[in-house]
Symmetry: C2
Subunit: 159 residues, 2 copies
Amino acid sequence: MEDKPGNVSIEQERFQLRRLEISDKKKGFIELLQQLTVCESVSDKDFEERYQELAKHGDEHVICVIEDRHGGKIVASGSVFIEKKFIRNCGKVGHIEDVVVDSSIRGMQLGKKIVGFLTDHACSMGCYKVILDCSLENKPFYEKCGYKQKEVQMVKYFI
Amino acid sequence: MEDKPGNVSIEQERFQLRRLEISDKKKGFIELLQQLTVCESVSDKDFEERYQELAKHGDEHVICVIEDRHGGKIVASGSVFIEKKFIRNCGKVGHIEDVVVDSSIRGMQLGKKIVGFLTDHACSMGCYKVILDCSLENKPFYEKCGYKQKEVQMVKYFI
């Protein structure tokens, strides 16, 4: 569904983009992540501990979500963290991770909103670039978000 | 040059792998990074500030170097930082960045030692995987280090 003039205000009212809050666990945040990859259910205690650990990083590690006010569910999410380097005049790089949109609600440009928010955040933090890894299948989506392929991602699993 | 039994002790004496120290700026650390990418000269003040910022992260952001005791120069370096997630049972992922070996001293397996150290560190920190981005040209090197290609890296530059 394209954003049309008549839809904008309705959509803005329905979909709220904001930072992750502790209460989002009850709004289906973990179930949303389960659509992305292996994500066992997390206890309230473990969730709160990890939430507080990430909160210590302040603007250097941000998780954003979109809440669908029709039903009060979290329907999209993504994260970005800021890496500090010595190269590029002690520059910074934004790393986008774990972008996901609820499979039942795709085609509403919610993924683009998430990536746009995370990209803008990296820019506002003074990063000289922002990077992410994706499957070849998702490459066209990120190209629509203004990204270009550069390198290849290599991985080593421990478990 | 392959590691041969007779060379090991001599090499171990010559090449010392350790964490970055503030005094490494005087040992050519920035000049080494200049072989990797754009890296303007950094003032002592800026270097120390960034060093201290990174030090705050403790074991969650480690830069290692190899010093060549013949001449007291830094001849190899690489970094790894630990990202905390909610997925994978509140798992962690290691991100390896900025691996570089002095062009005058390649073929001594120093790159492999750097990647091995950073990979082991990510493992010891409880990461379920470690990832990095590289050019297609460098892919065979990382395959020798036990890595496999998985996804593609996308980038957006701000400057």
